[in-house]
Symmetry: C2
């Protein structure tokens, strides 16, 4: 026996046969979803999809990989995070980085000029994410986009309405939706004396304001990016401004900004946006925030980002400029009027606006909520277990469960010839099955089935004809 133990230990250590010890894990930055996580994921998706459908969206799907060149030149510096496939003799392929670029490719390829669609799928980024905070290399995005030549700010406002509805319905705690406009940012940079060729790089420094203090941001602008201190200070004044429609009106009077055409059209649109948001009854959560920049290259107009403001979850960043702890962005988007044109041979533009939900982070919050809740998460929907009280009743159990399935009832039998009644009842307790249909010699003789309510242990005999009706009645009232 001693020898057997040693041999087992040797096997554990990989042995001396020089064989490679197999690593049992998922790829870095990815995870499996277990049944409990899937039950939560299904609940979140149901809420999200119901909202998208309520707003009249269709859905499409695209392949997980695209031609490499489809993704080239769309993501700026982030391009280095794209997963490429190995060249196995054929096309050069990359895993999709988001759902927006494949959507634009789809529109151009099919010459679609207007559509309202949602797309829920996984995207891939070779990042070094913090998985404890719900960030992964493979993660879901839930996108809603409106493409088409429409009147200003109407579809844009609906996107914000959708963010408001979904975040409210998921009950994730309080949130805020920041909005800004690329044209306002660019106009502001011009007005502050930033040279044209530095707009993008200064913009990406401004984008760090939710993670860095103003001092550090200014330092990066001046010392790393060579901006004059005076220009940086002017930017600093603007990016500390937050407000609503009133702020847009005030800035339209601002001597610096009002000189800039781009800024003015952005500000007028923000004003118009707020008038629609009032009709949509969502202004309570929306803030016009001049520090919002967003990294992606393709935005051309309105941009927005939703952040949870409750300190319920381990805080991601402490945003000094705000009065509450931000737990990170859960949705973001904006207008990208030029992206589809990049795919069209003739450069024909299709104006688009959309929003993307960072749903993994929402899953993480929902999982934590479920953990701390007293209610157990069920991972199946089984309504009744068909059980037997004596031996040799497998055939009768299989016959009865067949009848139940035929009636559309969610039912199980245990895959043993002679399971003990106790272990059958235990299975019900563990997986939350509310009812047991018990067969025994006596029940078979009497032509009845004993229906047991797991929670109360109440037992009543029913004829076969009544059984199905009774199961339906008892499980629909729950």
């Amino acid at each position: 026996e001693e020898v057997a133990k040693l041999l087992e230990l040797k096997a554990k250590l990989g042995g001396d046969d020089g064989k490679h010890q197999f690593v049992l894990k998922t790829a870095k930055g990815t995870r499996d979803y277990n049944p409990k996580q899937m039950a939560i994921r299904e609940k979140v998706f149901n809420t999200v999809v119901a909202c998208f459908k309520r707003h009249g969206a269709e859905t499409i799907d695209t392949p997980v990989f695209e031609l490499k060149e489809t993704l080239t030149g769309k993501y700026g510096e982030d391009s280095k995070l794209i997963y490429d496939l190995k060249d196995q003799g054929g096309e050069l392929l990359s895993l999709r980085y988001d759902l927006t670029v494949p959507f634009a490719r789809y529109l151009a390829m099919n010459k679609i000029t207007n559509i309202k669609r949602y797309h829920i799928a996984k995207v891939y980024r070779r990042d070094n994410p913090s998985m404890t905070r719900g960030r992964y290399r493979e993660f879901y995005q839930c996108d809603f986009d409106i493409a088409g030549q429409y009147d200003a700010m109407i579809p844009d406002a609906e996107c914000l309405k959708i963010v408001h509805e979904i975040l409210s319905e998921l009950e994730l705690g309080d949130f805020r939706i920041k909005v800004n406009d690329r044209r306002i940012l660019d106009g502001m940079f011009a007005a502050c004396g930033v040279p044209d060729d530095k707009f993008r790089t200064i913009c990406s420094t401004v984008d760090k304001l939710d993670k860095m203090s103003w001092e550090d941001v200014k330092n990066e602008m001046v010392n790393e990016k060579g901006l004059s201190e005076q220009a940086a200070d002017l930017i600093g004044e603007f990016v500390s401004m937050q407000g609503g429609r009133d702020l847009a009106e005030r800035l339209l009077q601002n001597p610096r900004l009002s000189q800039n055409k781009l800024a003015c059209s952005g500000l007028s649109d923000v004003k118009l946006l707020f008038s629609y948001l009032e009709l949509f009854q969502v202004t309570d959560k929306v803030v016009f925030d001049l520090s919002l920049a967003r990294g992606l290259d393709y935005y051309t107009g309105l941009i927005y980002e939703a952040v949870l403001t409750q300190a319920g979850l381990s805080g991601d960043t402490l945003n000094g400029a705000e009065d509450s702890v931000s737990v990170g962005s859960v949705a973001g988007g904006g207008r990208y009027d030029g992206l589809v044109g990049m795919f069209d041979p003739k450069g024909r533009k299709v104006p688009c606006v959309g929003v993307s939900f960072g749903i993994e982070r929402i899953f993480t919050i929902m999982e934590q909520k479920a953990e701390s809740s007293a209610d157990k998460v069920r991972t199946t929907e089984v309504q009744v277990l068909v059980a037997s009280a004596q031996k040799n009743l497998l055939e009768e159990r299989l016959k009865l469960v067949t009848d139940l399935w035929k009636a559309g009832i969610k039912a199980e039998v245990m895959y043993k010839k002679n399971p003990k009644l106790l272990s059958q009842l235990q299975h019900c307790e563990e997986s939350g099955i509310p009812l047991v249909a018990i067969l025994g010699e006596q029940e078979l003789k009497d032509g009845v089935v004993k229906l047991r309510v797991v929670a109360t242990r109440e037992e009543v005999d029913f004829s076969r004809a009544d059984l199905i009706r009774e199961i339906r009645r008892r499980t629909s009232e729950a």
Copy 2:
């Protein structure tokens, strides 16, 4: 104008600037799903998932890529079809080839010894598929598996019951489920005098019987694989046999097979299986067919495959041995008791049985059915369009649609300030929206909304309070 045309032509041809002409396409062997295809896909998934849930399954999800070594040595010759990711400095990764190997890895990694789970996700094979027949390089699989140490053939029979239920409910036409057993195949090869080391290769030749005539199969066995003509002829006799429980009983008396222990245990199990299938009421479609081989290495016991037998679709293969044209396999599976053990450091086995639906082919059939049907496939679920009959009513439309959304009604407005009533009604016709809530000066004055039924053009005024109730009533009865 002539010049403009020429310039356009030049642009089409890519111009003379030497710039690379962008290729606007999806990767080879992949496709987008448009909204109509998605509507059909959703319907199919709903049927499949409802069945899986009715049978008490949980669901899991795994990443789209695995460590390369996780997939190594699981697929035999098919391994060459695996997509590898580029080595970008990190782990070596491959796209999943099926859902079964990731499932086994998941069980071993989490030390799970029993679970009933389904998994619906895309898998990847660098094949040269016929896309017109619904075969792609990226395609969905819908898998249902039962892992655990249970009594013989009970979970196996439930898998076949599920195939029967799903194919019946999808109304794809007549089908047949062929069953066989790896142990019977191996026993048969031994009994026919096939050398041990040729079992696998002869088995993969037998697997071609649904695409090749017996003469060609025999030819490959004898001339390519060096089998004796006598052995091949003996195999030929067996693989022409089809039947039910009676055939299993007859073969148990067969002087050659009854000498082989493996064959006998397989045959006894097939006998037992049919007794359960009778209780499940599915024997009408199940055939014990000794020519069924199935390619994958990991099967250890019962194997099965469902084929549609109606010549409704462009026939994939003309199976000479059968009386009807086969349109190809739509589901397949079997028992794989050794796979999980390959991932366990101590080699602990977890017996598994499962089935995988080749759902792309089912989509293709459903799409063809939808095309030829008179009913238009709706791609949204919008119940009512909020429209206006006069100009300058955008604000009123936005207010009303906000009320409807709040009440959970699926509603749209057109994103124009002043859309024409005709174009609003046209939009309803095109996308199948049944109701229009029309606002005009008069309605606003009277505090009512005109509800129009698109199909009948009937119009009735309702107070705001009654409107929501009326929309619900009219759309629930549909």
